[in-house]
Amino acid sequence: MSIPVEPVTPELAPGAARAAHADAEALGMAETPARALWRAFRRDRLAMLGLYVLLASLVVALLGKLLTGFWVVFDPAAVRLPDKLLPPLSAASSAIGKDLLPPFHYYPFGTDELGRNVFARMLQGAFVSLSVGIVAVGISLVIGVTVGGLAGFYGQRKLGPISVDSLLMRFTDVVLCFPTFFLILTVVALLPPSIYNIMIVIGITSWMSTARFVRAECLALREQDFITAATALGLPPWRILFRHMIPNAMAPVLVSATINVAHAILTESALSFLGFGVRPPYATWGNILADGRSYIFDAPWLFLIPGAAILVVVLAFNLVGEGLRDALNPKLRKRVG
């Protein structure tokens, strides 16, 4: 009896191992929604290019903040009059004091009309541009998601003669009708010109599209079985709204937020260009561009460099936004099917 058993065992083992492996694979394939999104996103070459550019500019911005803040030779406000309006890649002249010499004695992006190092100014501006864009969109997301979520979730509830939905969405429509840029100009002209005021003002004038997206998603989600099921489990309404509905409504919001960052960067640049932005000694891409305007033929790098930087970063955000949109769409279809 023991003889036929022995050859069977080694035969069984690989089979069992294979089954176990298949099982582990089936279970191990546990793909989080984020991982599935990344897999779809990675296929889009342009979006990946945009993402690399974005990551690079984030690194540059952080690096810029550190370098310009703590290293005196990188001081973007240091005036070196003998070296004014030097083209990119020119060497520092011998007239510059030792403590003011730029790193490696070179000006990679040239100097402006006061002999300030454009490279250092661009680094400082990168941090301003990106932080304004990201913080402003963060503020607009908080407002937009809250307004849209409340309108979509409590929409039917009445406040006197009108429903919550009409109240919030008509308010959104009213804000949408404001000529946003002039509103920002007015507010910024009244407030002291600080980077924080600009973030807040851009934030509270750009939440409307987010609110509309979130409301539309929440209206659709309300009717979903899993929301009924969550209610049947006794979850309180705020938890259903913020934990179960809004995470499911984030797909279009993520796309519009990415593109909104690009918008916010443009708005900040435009404000600084017009002189309503960040106070002048502090460099931003917008005011470097504005300063360069007067030397457009003599020193074209003064507007070309910040202009190109704005273009590249805005384009990168838009590419990433488009890529996210494409990556999220088939997934939404798969989720329903």
Partner: protein, 345 residues
């Protein structure tokens, strides 16, 4: 039979109040043309540990009745009371209602495919209920969730717990739904067509699981279904609903053997018989009347083969046709009681 009758006798007769007692429930939906009743005076008693099936076609009001118990129906409870453990759910404040939902009354739904949140792992969804109702710590909730998954028959729960709904099959999702519904050991489980969206083989597994969970936890089950086979296997008592009213009620055995309402008889006749594959299935002629245009008399009158004078003008009340067995049909009124049993023809 005796056991079933005793089960029925538990209701009130021995003094113990029923777990759930619905009286004269009327649920209306607001429409542009005024309120439309979906449930028109339903009485239902459910003892602790008992299984009662609510049977009827789509639109008969069975789901609305069940959803009204949870106060999840879009319709308004226009009249009647829903007493659960001595408290009227129809008038309970929303905050107290929330502690009953998921805590003392669990519910599972027809379509497990769409009843789980797609962006969270199943583990987090089970844990959420435990943390909310039982105030467990995150770690205790995880341990408990694992036990629950194991209990509802999910293999390799340790890996499944980190998976998302779309990675599970329909049967597994319904098991997860069950795990969530029973997580806080409810006294009552409402199962709203729990097997309708599943394969036949999976249906049997889920019903078996329901039965074993019921025995283990001693909970009452209110089963909403249109599948008479499931009723026969699982329920003790059955209530047949038609157009928002209960037309017949009794023990499963009585109702199936001696169907006394023409509608119940027609429902049973419409069941396919595997032993007579050539036999044409008997559909019930006509359609369920729209709840906004109900006839003044019996709602089944227009489709009934036995309709006579009073049917069109008067609504029949429930007439006793046997112990714990009644039917809302004038054929069963008084002396004509002898007609009962004609359903076997």
């Amino acid at each position: 039979m005796a056991a079933v009758n005793e089960g029925g006798g538990r209701l009130g007769a021995e003094g113990a109040p029923p777990l759930l007692s619905i009286r004269e429930l009327r649920v209306e939906f607001a429409t542009d043309a005024g309120p439309v009743p979906a449930v028109r005076g339903v009485d239902l008693q459910l003892a602790a540990g008992e299984t009662v099936a609510l049977v009827g076609e789509s639109g008969s009001g069975k789901s609305v009745t069940a959803m009204s118990v949870m106060r999840l129906s879009e319709g308004r409870i226009a009249a009647g009371s829903i007493e659960f453990q001595g408290r009227d759910l129809a008038s309970l404040p929303e905050a107290e209602m929330r502690s009953i939902r998921g805590g003392q009354i669990g519910m599972i739904f027809q379509d497990p495919m769409t009843s789980l949140n797609p962006v969270f792992t199943i583990g987090r969804q089970i844990e959420e209920v435990l943390v909310l109702h039982q105030r467990l710590s995150a770690r205790a909730a995880r341990t408990q969730a694992l036990e629950l998954l194991q209990r509802v028959g999910i293999s390799a729960p340790a890996s499944r717990i980190a998976q998302y709904a779309h990675e599970l099959s329909g049967g597994m999702k319904q098991r997860v739904m069950l795990a969530m519904a029973i997580a806080c050991r409810p006294r009552l489980l409402i199962a709203d067509e729990p097997t309708t969206a599943l394969d036949v083989t999976i249906q049997a597994q889920i019903i078996e699981l329901l039965r074993s969970l019921q025995q283990e936890f001693g909970m009452a089950v209110l089963l909403i279904t249109h599948d008479l086979g499931v009723v026969a296997h699982f329920a003790e008592r059955v209530l047949v609903m038609y157009a928002g009213k209960i037309v017949e009620q009794g023990s499963v055995r009585d109702v199936f053997k001696r169907a006394s309402h023409p509608y119940t008889q027609a429902l049973l006749a419409a069941l396919p018989d595997p032993l007579k594959p050539k036999k044409r299935l008997q559909a019930i002629p006509g359609r369920v009347p729209s709840p906004s245009m109900l006839p003044p008399g019996c709602a089944f009158c227009a489709r009934c083969a036995f309709a006579f004078e009073p049917c069109a003008e008067q609504e029949p009340r429930l007439f006793e046709v046997g112990p714990q067995h009644s039917a809302a049909c004038f054929l069963r009124e008084g002396p004509e009681k002898s007609l009962s049993g004609s359903g076997e023809g």
